[in-house]
Each structure stands twice: as C-alpha cells, then as structure tokens.
Amino acid sequence: MTKLSLTINGRRVSADIDSRTLLVDFLRNNQRLTGTHVGCDTSQCGACTVHLDGRSVKSCAVLAASCEGADVMTIEGLADGTTLHPMQAAFREHHALQCGFCTPGMIMAGVDIVNRNGSQVDEATIRKELEGNICRCTGYHNIVRAIESGAAAMAGTKIAAE
C-alpha cells in the first residue's frame, strides 16, 4: 500500500492505496467521484479526462500514486457552487451532449483547449485538439459550437473577475 495525499476539487484528500491503482479508479472507486468515466482500455476515448495541476490528462493513463501533492479537478469541481462553469453552460445551450457519457471528458478537454489556445480558438484547432475524445452520439458539430461559445464566455468571465 502507498500513502497518497492530494487536493481534489479544492479538498485535501489522503488515502492508503494499492500502488498500481489508476487515478481514474481512485477517483471513481475510492472517492466516489463517478462523473469521470471509463469508455475504453487503451487511453483512446477521453471519457476519463480530468485536470491535473491545471492541464488535462487521461486519468486512465496516470497512476494515482504519481499524484502525491497534486491538484486534481474533476467534472464535479468545475461549477462554482450552483453556478455552472461557462463551458458547462455552453454544452447545454448548444445541445452538445446526448447520452452524456463522454460529456465530462469533453467539457474538461474543452476548458483545457481554451486555456491553451485562448478565447479566439478556431474550429479547425478545436477539431484537431479533440482528437483524444470520442463521442458516438453528437457527430461533434454541436460540441465544436459549444467550445467556441464556451471560449468566448470564459473570456468574459475572466474580464469580469479582473
């Protein structure tokens, strides 16, 4: 067993874990944060995407034990209380989800795309950057629209915060 301490969604967490535990299994089974999903076994689908120290990662490809001291954000931590994150709101506004299974990973990836590419990120960049996230329902059209819209809204939020 390995002792692990980290921050998840702003909360300090400590646990004894099997050293081979994947971050996604730690989140789902140990922390009961089941918004992070497992859609494949080859790190291809992106349903398990979370933010690790501010960057999106596939939590099925990260050992929990490697996250000592890290800051992890999951879909459950994205909203500010009952106020949705602009990207969450944009996904609903643009009907960017159907079954909802890929959605947490898509939203976490979307936020990261905007963080890295800015609020003016264009469609071609969004489509290229979504390479690691598979959706079987939406045909991506509305996901792209939502990330464009969420990007603009995130810029607005930043200005409001400043």
Binding site: T34, C40, T42, E76, H95, Q98, G100, T103, E131, V144
Partner: protein, 788 residues
C-alpha cells in the same frame, strides 16, 4: 406554454446532471456486499470443449464461485433466444442452433463465453479467470460469408446444414425477371456492406442482486428496453417469474441497437447473484465490447436495376448473403429480411422488385441491429444503383431520381410497405439549393486547378420506422407486439409524473415527452417528471429502437393525456355545476362554455383527489390514466443528403467539404434535438463509409479489437453539417411525427461513396474508403484518363 410545447427547441432537462458529473450509469451504482464477475472467453473461433478444469481458479484468493455451462444447465437456465421467426422460401422455419449463455460442449467465436468467475474484487476475479484450464479440440474457422455455405466447410451448428439459417425471399420473381428481359439498360453492382461495431461510449454493464428475504431479483443493466429484458429473462431463460424480477436501466450511455439484446453476461450476473448470495457486478472492458457486443451490417450483395429507354425504372433485383455470426442474437433474423428488403423501393416508383437473402452462420461475433438495421443496407443498394445508372446512361443524378420519384400517396410498393405521405421533390429542391448544385462545375474546376479531385454524391433515402403495428409485425414473424405504454399520474397539486415504456439513452425523452405534456395539458415542463427504465415503476413497455419513441411512445402519452382531459372535464363540470358536455379545456384551464366559470388544471386535480364535490358512484376519485398505443402503420421519414468531397490524389486524403441534409420527419417536437440526432447519424454513416471496418483473420481472430485498430470517427474526420427540414405530417399517429434517430446513418454512406466515386471519375470503391483505398483508386483513375 407554446414556448415549451411541441415545436420549441427547449434546452434539455436531463443535461444538468450530465454536465455536472451526476449521471447515474450502471457502473456508478454499487450494491452493499457487491462481488465482481469476469468471464473466461474462448481464444479460438471454433472448437469442441474437451475439458474445463476450474480447480485452480476456485482455489484462487477471493474467489466465491466459478461456473460453466453445465452449472446453468443443472439449474435449468435456458438459452438466449431469437425473437423473430423467419421462414425460408420453401416454407420451412429457420434453422437455429442453441445459444447457451455459457458454452456447452463447443465454442463458436473468439470471445464466446466459456466460464465465469465471481470474486471479492475485480482483480481477484481477473487473476482467477486466467487460471481456468480449457482443453479445446480446434475446428476450422468459417469467416467469409461468401463461402460459408460451400460444401466441405466446417459445420457450426448441427441444426443448420451448410451453415444456412434461412433462404428467404420477397417480391415477384417472374414479374421482375420479365421486366429485366425487356430493359433497355441494366446496371449491376457487387456490394459489400461492411461489418461495424456499434461502440456506444458506455460499455455494457450489469449488476445482479438477489434478495433472499423477498425472493426477489433485481438486475441493473445497460438496456434500451428493460421490460423486454425482463420478459425474456423470465419467460424464456427462466431466471424468475416476472413479478419476482425487477429490471432497472438507469442512465444509459448510448445504445444504437447494441443494448436492445439480452446477452449472456446480464443473464449470468443475475443468476449468479443467487448462487453466491451477494450482488454480482460486471462491466465490459472495451476489448470485451468489441468481442461480445452484437455487431452490425455485414452483407454481400449483387444488385441490378432495369431501366427503359426513357430512364424509367422497370425493376430491381438483389441477392444478399447476410452474416449472422455464430449465434442468432435477439432480433438478428429480422434485420436482413423484413427490415431490409421492404425498403428496396426507396423513394421510387418501381413496378417489380425481387430480393433473395441467405442468412448465414459464421464463427464470428453475432450480428444484429445497429442504427438503421437493414435500412442502411437497403438504402446503400438503391442509392448506389441509382447513381451508377445515371452515370452509365448520361443522366443528371438529381433529375434521374426526380423522374422516378413516387409522386402520389398513399403508395403501395411491391415489397410490403404502403408509404403514407411524403414530398420527395420538395426535399430534393431544397437540398439542391442549399448545396449550390449549380455551382458544382465551377468548384470542380477550381479543385482541378489545385490538383485536387472534387465530387458530389446524392442519397435520397427512405426508411420505415416507428416500429410498428403489432399485427403487421406479428404476421411477419415477430414474437412480440410493438405498441408502447404510457401512464400519466397527476398529483393533487397538479404536478405530473409520466411513466413511459420508452427508454432514453441519449434521445432526450425527459425533455421532449414533457413538451408533449405541456402542449396537451397546458402545464410548464418544470411540473412534469418523465419516469422510465424501471420495471417496478413502469408496468410494461417495449423500449426504444427503430426510431419509435416519438411515433409510438409519445403517441401513447397523447392518448393518456386525452383521457386525463376527459376525466378532468367531468370533475370540472361537477365542481362548476355545468353540464359535462359544455366544458372546454384550453391552455390549461377548464372553461364552462357560455359562462364565466373556469378552473385551472391544478384546481381540478385537487378536486379530483379531495372528492367532495362529485358523486363517487358517477366519478371515481383520483386523476391517473394510462394508454397502450399501437400505431396504424410504420412512419416513413425521407430526405435528401448531398455530400461534396475534395480528394488529394497524391495522398488519398478525402476532405468532406460540405454536407447538406434535408429531412422530412413530419412534425418536430424539439427541432434542436432532432437536428442533433441527424448530426450523430451522419457521423456514424461517415464512419462506415470512410473509417470503420471490422476485420477478422482467416482463423477467426478479430484484428480490429480496440480503438487503436478500429477507426472511430473523431472531431476532425467530420465536417459541420448543413441541416434543414421539409414537413409532410405523418397521418398514421396523433402527433404527425416520424422517426429521426436513424436517418443520418441510413442516408450518409451512399451519399459519401457516390461523392467519392464521382471525384474518382466513376472508379468504384468499397467501404470504408480509407486514404489507401482512395489513393489506389485515384491512381487507377488518373492512368485511365491518361490512356484515353
């Protein structure tokens, strides 16, 4: 309430839980004392099982039980069933082999279920499954559907000589042959409709939970139709009688057909929960899903179209071999027969059609319904024939289609279907305009200047969905009725719970069904809850597939709502002291005609439960009504999709430059959701046409068994879609709606292949048109043009 009623693009009610990570999928549910199941699967395609030694696995840490087919047989657990009887053309019933949930004596595909381990933890179950020793007597694999029936091939099931399940036909052979004999032109195509893996993003999962105190089983499962699952598990497989078996399908992460079926894993989990006395959970890994979820399509077809000298279609003839895999899955037999051949008339007035279909066993994963189910295969045949015939006879493909469109309704085709309504020219005209068809020549010239090849392809599809009238499908061999149920429970304060037998796994029923209630009962959707997916709450239902939830499920809600209004009028009349026949219901209010008396919906609901103001011998207290709705006909959505591509002949890369879709789904309940369904369908069709391919080697090993090897469409593989609608209301249901769930997947593949072959100078290409295949065809086309 019109801003929330039928026709409004209301934002989805269900989204809030999904975008905040609070959905409840089966794998998010954990039961107290839960154990874990792992299946030992066959590593070979075809073998007798000489011996299974589970002793080492049983002794492994944490193991609670290891079971094989012999244990299921000892408990008299029946095999999995196929619920649609097909008769061959000689009148004999289809020849189906047994389909045990755990193999008995033989394995028939890689991934076939040999044994199950139940252990305290998932890792312990996995470790133990690896210790099961199976002595296989290997037999030759039978992989190729084209040669599976040949003499000398290994026999997969003793019951099915020559690996042939049925030799079925539909249509008038003599009339069709006679029409071909006098044709001025015949177009002939050899078509392979490639095998696909559905790959809903949520893998299948199940939790079996037996409560000995109540002698009650509960199954949590990823199902599109929990009541059908209960019926089959109870009446055929024999787990428990229906009143002792509860099936819950909570949030389900996509289905596309693959979660209709009653599979081995769910069956074993529910059965094993009683054996070990603990809840048993199983969650498919994606690799397991590739092996064990029913696949789709996989037809090999020769098809011909006969024209007269004026371009009028005289007849269509098709001969299809359909790969059914190693066992008959739940509805496998119906997909290449009654869901396929009756669609071969497309949007066209074709006087004679004849189709022969051989259903064939192979040592591969079972094949069953996948988004469209038979109709994409038919549409691919029809729309490729039309396109190639137009090219061969020098006709404009749009005008050739228009010339042959059915122009008056109702229209009886020669292959069962009676189309009730449509306006095919309206969709074509709108699509031509949106796609700027007139500008195509200039765009082709511009692409040529850049060294690129540009092509445009049409697909004028029709589908039969909203499946279906029970008597009609019963006469064709279905083992079930295909009505739908609804129950409306009005609470004393006027809030409403709607219990529906439909199941939402992405379709947004919690929104659209509430919109129907809002329109019919005049209440805001915030006062409405849609309840589905639990056999203890909803009495009975047939579930969601075949684009039936709007046409059948929502129609049942309309019928129940009409009964609520009728009962409400009687209560209101008594309360307002006016005659029953003088009460009108408008915008959520009961009005005494010719008086100034009125009551709100909530007031009437309260009075129905208070029951102070009416005679209980004349009016029963309470406000709850139900309906079982059985449609008069299928619905017949139609439309025109136009794909335009630009190909780089040096790399074979195909860029989809624009996609135009004009669909006629009748009345739309929520246009935003309908457009989303079209988008998703197109992407799956693009996947089939350009990316997705299921490959077995000659030994029956699945080569494309993960997302590393099987090319799922990703965001940069598909374009933005230009989607629009035309509207001819469906006359066969009270809402005037048609199904929209499968249209995109039906329309897209021929549109794209027609576009690619147009760009390639009419050089034929098979699906999927991968860059390598396109490059080869482009080089051939360039050489041919140089030679000319």
């Amino acid at each position: 309430m019109t801003d929330q009623g039928i026709g409004a693009s209301v934002k989805r009610v269900e989204d809030l839980r999904f975008i905040t990570g609070k959905g409840q999928y089966v794998d998010d549910i954990n039961r107290h004392g839960q154990t874990y199941a792992v299946f030992a699967r066959s590593p070979v395609a075809h073998a007798t099982i000489k011996n299974i030694d589970v002793s080492e696995a049983l002794a492994s840490p944490g193991v609670l039980g290891v079971y094989t087919g012999a244990d299921l047989a000892a408990d008299k657990i029946g095999g999995l069933i196929c619920g649609w009887m097909i008769h061959s053309k000689d009148g004999s019933p289809m020849k189906a082999g047994a389909h045990p949930a755990l193999a008995q004596g033989k394995v028939r595909y890689v991934g076939d279920h040999v044994a199950v381990v139940i252990a305290e933890t998932l890792d312990q179950a996995k470790d133990a499954a690896g210790l099961i020793q199976v002595d296989y007597g290997e037999l030759p694999a039978v992989v190729d559907v084209g040669s599976a029936q040949a003499a000398g091939k290994a026999q997969i099931h003793d019951e099915a000589p020559n690996n042939t399940v049925y030799q079925w036909h539909l249509g008038d052979k003599d009339a069709t042959d006679a029409a071909f004999a006098k044709a001025a032109h015949v177009t002939k195509l050899d078509i392979v409709n490639n095998r696909l893996v559905p790959n809903a993003m949520e893998p299948r999962a199940a939790i079996g939970d037996f409560d000995p105190g109540q002698d009650q089983f509960t199954l949590y499962t990823t199902s599109q139709n929990p009541h059908v699952a209960r019926l089959v598990l109870s009446a055929f497989i024999g787990i428990a009688p229906e009143h002792k078996l509860r099936v819950i399908a909570p949030d389900v992460g996509g289905g596309f057909g693959s979660k209709i079926f009653i599979y081995a894993e769910e069956t074993v989990c529910i059965w094993a929960s009683k054996k070990v006395g603990r809840p048993v959970k199983w969650v498919a890994e994606r690799t397991e899903a590739f092996l064990a979820d029913a696949h789709g399509r996989d037809h090999v077809t020769t098809a011909e179209l006969a024209l007269d000298a004026s371009g009028k279609i005289l007849a269509l003839r098709a001969n299809t071999k359909a790969n059914l895999g190693a066992y008959l899955s739940t509805f496998a037999s119906s997909v290449p027969t009654y869901l396929y051949a009756p669609l071969l008339s497309g949007q066209y007035d074709i006087p004679a059609i004849y189709c022969e279909v051989d259903g064939v066993y192979t040592t591969t994963t079972p094949v069953d319904a996948y988004r469209g189910a038979g109709r994409p295969e038919a549409t691919f045949v029809v729309e490729r024939l039309l396109e190639v015939a137009a090219r061969q006879t020098g006709r404009d493909p749009a005008e050739f289609r228009r010339q042959n469109f059915i122009k008056s309704f109702p229209h009886q085709t020669p292959v069962i279907m009676a189309y009730d309504a449509g306006d095919y020219a309206a969709s074509l005209d709108k699509a031509l305009e949106m796609a700027d068809y007139k500008g195509l020549a200039a765009r082709k010239a511009e692409s040529a200047r850049k060294g690129k090849l540009r092509g445009l392809g049409f697909s004028a599809y029709i589908e039969a969905c909203g499946i279906a009238p029970s008597r009609a499908v019963g006469s064709l061999g279905a083992g079930v009725g295909l009505w739908e149920s609804a129950e409306i429970r009005v609470n004393p304060v006027g809030t409403i719970e709607v219990l529906t037998g439909s199941h939402s796994h992405g379709q947004g029923h919690e929104t659209t069904f509430a919109q129907v209630i809002s329109s019919k009962l005049g209440v805001p959707i915030e006062q409405v809850s849609i309840v589905h997916g639990d056999t203890d709450k909803v009495q009975m239902g047939m579930g969601t597939y075949g684009s039936r939830s709007g046409a059948v499920g929502a129609s049942a809600i309309v019928k129940a709502a009409e009964k609520i209004v009728a009962k409400g009028k009687r209560v209101a009349a008594a309360c307002m002291e006016v005659p029953e026949d003088s009460v009108d219901f408008e915008n959520g209010e009961f009005l005494g005609r010719g008086t100034n008396k009125k009551m709100t919906f909530g007031e009437v609901a309260l009075q129905a439960y208070v029951a102070h103001k009416f005679d209980p011998e004349l009016i029963e207290p309470g406000l709850k009504e139900g309906s079982f709705y059985d449609p008069k006909n299928f619905t017949f959505p139609s439309g025109v999709h136009i794909a335009e591509v630009e190909i780089d002949p040096e790399t074979g890369h195909t860029r989809i430059d624009r996609w135009t879709a004009v669909d006629d789904f009748g009345i739309l309940i929520n246009p935003m959701i309908v457009e989303g369904q079209v988008h998703g369908g197109i992407a799956q069709g693009v996947g089939q046409a350009m990316l997705e391919h299921t490959v077995y080697d000659e030994n029956g090993q699945l080569i494309t068994g993960s997302f590393m090897d099987y090319a799922m469409p990703r965001a940069d593989d598909v374009p933005s879609y230009n989607v629009s609608m035309t509207t001819t209301p469906c006359p066969s249901n009270p809402l005037g709606v048609k199904g929209c769930g499968e249209a995109g997947a039906i329309a897209a593949p021929p549109a794209l292949i027609n576009a690619i072959t147009d760009a390639l100078g009419h050089e034929e290409i098979a699906m999927p048109a991968t860059p390598q295949a396109v490059w080869r065809a482009a080089q051939k086309s360039v050489r041919k043009q140089a030679a000319e």
